[in-house]
Amino acid sequence: MIKLNEHKEPQHSVTSQRYLTPNKVTVFMSQHLGSPAELIVKPGDEILRGQIIAKTTGFVSANVHSPVTGKVLKVEYAKHPILKHAEAVIIGPDYTKPRVNFKPKDTIKFSKEEILNIIKESGIVGMGGATFPTHVKLMPKSPVDTLIINGSECEPYLATDCRVMLEYTNEILKGVEILAKLLDVKTVIFGIAENKPRAIKLFEETIENGKYDFPLVKIAELNAGYPQGGEKQLINIVTKRKVPPRGLPMDVGCVVHNVGTCLAVYDAVYKGKPFIERLVTFCGDALKEPKNVWVTIGTNLKELFDSNILEFKTAPKKIICGGPMMGIALDSLDYPIIKGSGGFVFLSHDEAEVPETPCLSCSRCVDVCPMNLLPNEFVRAVKAGEYELLEDMNLIDCMECGCCVYSCPAKIPVVHYVRMGKQFLRNHAVKEKK
């Protein structure tokens, strides 16, 4: 675990605003972990806001909905912030048509299966960044007794979790109520980082005053540093349980959901609204002012600048999709917002632009590795081309959190080498199969 300069202000205190009328949206079939959804519309089709345009194609997959009412212009391969290029539907919105308002449902009468089905149909994926389809996590194969709500947001700069906790406290708690009931857990633990004291206080008060049908509730104030919001780390901090290597949280009776996901579940179950909008933090020293904006999925980043929602103060040197520790650097502004885009950081300088120097074996990487691996040995093995060693070194267990790279005085991009090594292991496994 490491302590980072958090850069959370002023984003933490900026009230969210809305930009829900994009000129064009680009909706990808693949914006979740798992198999891409299958397209069910074709160019020329008139579609409605919230209509399913692509269906799940397997156990781990999620539906994709149209975020606007309008016409399908074309289906093409578009620039994807994570996959480089991926199949997408380009939709031209038509704001002359009446806006689709979602009808609240009388969910009290619904059975567990029906509620689970609503969540599945709504295309909700984990909002913490990994975008794992939420309904899959709600069908654990082994018994689960603890539901952990992740409000740690340990990536520097990002503030969406903090904002939804402050602005939608009741809705999140209602969402948690649904999840707790579906999973039939004995305990609900909220893990909230100490750098969000207002959120912690608000949750404590709201839970005390509100009437929520919770089992045992606990609020854990997290102060371990980065990456305390990592699923395995969070479980360890709040329950002392350790998920075994390559295991899942349910192996130790836990399920972790992000606060944003709880809000999305509330919207889907109580309001009948699928996952078509999300809160995104835009910040960094190259922006005039940081903003938290509700945007429709598929809005182009560039459009936010064209419509003056965002303004540059200085020319950015680096644009990061996600947080600066695990996010992806973008080569241009021409990228659509996807379900997993929690934030964009615009930096006028690039700390990573430093030459790599020889490893001193100073062991700082080993000391900070939250998975207790030996990052220095990964680098040595990958550089020497000794890929067969990588499996014994448990390279696969590396979650690429970046603590080693951050701490390295020799400025070695360890995670880059780890990715090279993993790529080799993947190629190797494919060859073995053949």
């Binding site: 990573a352 120097t357 020889p358 080993v366 267990d397 005085p409 995670v415």
Partner: protein, 315 residues
């Protein structure tokens, strides 16, 4: 077009150069003590070793076909590691060492011990200690002749540990603490070494685990030996004399030659402490810090292998 690179996009400010600069800062008090106690000869030795180290590093990097002033995969003059090696070697040489011996030892440390094994971070043995070992074999008499501080004409005088070992005499603890004793130029003042050493630990430049177990083992065994044989010297005598303090703060904690695992660093420190004690009490030499650290340097890869941390969640 914006910068693209693999995540993470943040870096700590600390770099190799500042690590080395901090080590030099940590060595400043003891360097000052060396100059104070041994006057002009100490200045000559220190300048000789540092300049030779820089020139050798420059030459070897040239020979390896890289620009010594740029960042290369073998190291660079800019990272100041050569200055650290030169200064460390100077501090563990006796004041009467001849100029050519100091020069030769430094050349050996940089060219052979450091660069033949791959350069910065790749060396198996601590270059400064290896340089001294080389000189001890090449010039055994010169390297075991010491004299008292401030002496105008050079009258040889045994070190406190040698006095104890070969003639059962003890030096006052106050002299040991302040450094007013005969010995290698940078090993006499326990006070100044402690100041620098604690600075390194506080700045987290050196890891505390190695000094802890190294000091702990020497302390424990000395207490036991003291109870068995009260004539074996007081506790503080063993802890303050010889190269123990300088070795444990500045040599044993050399990152390249000590283990990377936390458990390994405890083992490494304990091993150093044990070998020091064995040599001091039962060995042929009065002092064993140099041998102990070099011996444990050789064991470092093995220690790393057997002290691998358990993966998160592994039982």
């Amino acid at each position: 077009m914006y910068n693209i690179s693999s995540s993470p996009h943040l870096r700590v400010k600390l770099d190799t150069r500042s690590v080395m600069l901090n080590v030099i800062l940590g060595l400043l008090p003891v360097t000052a003590a060396a100059v104070f106690f041994f006057r002009v000869p100490a200045v000559y030795i220190i300048l000789n070793c540092i300049i030779t180290a820089i020139l050798t590093e420059w030459l070897v990097l040239k020979m390896r076909g890289v620009n010594p002033l740029s960042n290369t995969s073998y190291g660079s003059l800019k990272d100041l590691s050569a200055v650290v090696t030169g200064l460390l070697l100077a501090l563990i040489l006796p004041p009467a060492v001849k100029w050519y011996a100091a020069t030769l030892g430094t050349v050996f440390a940089i060219a052979v011990v450091k660069h033949i094994f791959g350069g910065l971070g790749c060396n198996i043995f601590n270059p400064a200690l290896m340089g001294r070992l080389f000189l001890m074999i090449a010039y055994p008499k010169m390297l075991t002749t010491f004299y008292e501080p401030f002496s105008v004409d050079v009258v040889s005088k045994a070190t406190p540990l040698a006095l104890y070992k070969f003639s059962s005499q003890f030096v006052s603890l106050k002299s040991l603490f302040l450094g007013n004793i005969s010995g290698s130029i940078g090993e006499t003042s326990a006070l100044c070494i402690l100041i620098g050493g604690i600075y390194l630990l506080l700045r987290k430049i050196a890891d505390w685990r190695i000094p802890l177990t190294m000091f702990g083992v020497v302390l424990a065994v000395t207490i036991i030996m003291g109870t068995i044989n009260p004539l074996s010297g007081s506790l503080f005598f063993h802890l303050l004399s010889g190269g123990l303090l300088l070795g444990m703060f500045f040599m044993a904690t050399d990152p390249a030659t000590s283990p990377v695992t936390k458990l390994g660093r405890y083992v490494f420190g304990a091993g150093c402490g044990l070998i020091i004690i064995i040599i001091r009490y039962w060995g042929g030499y009065p002092e064993g810090v140099m041998f102990s650290i070099l011996f444990m340097n050789a064991l470092t890869p093995l220690i790393n292998r057997y002290t691998k941390p358990k993966r998160f969640g592994e039982r």
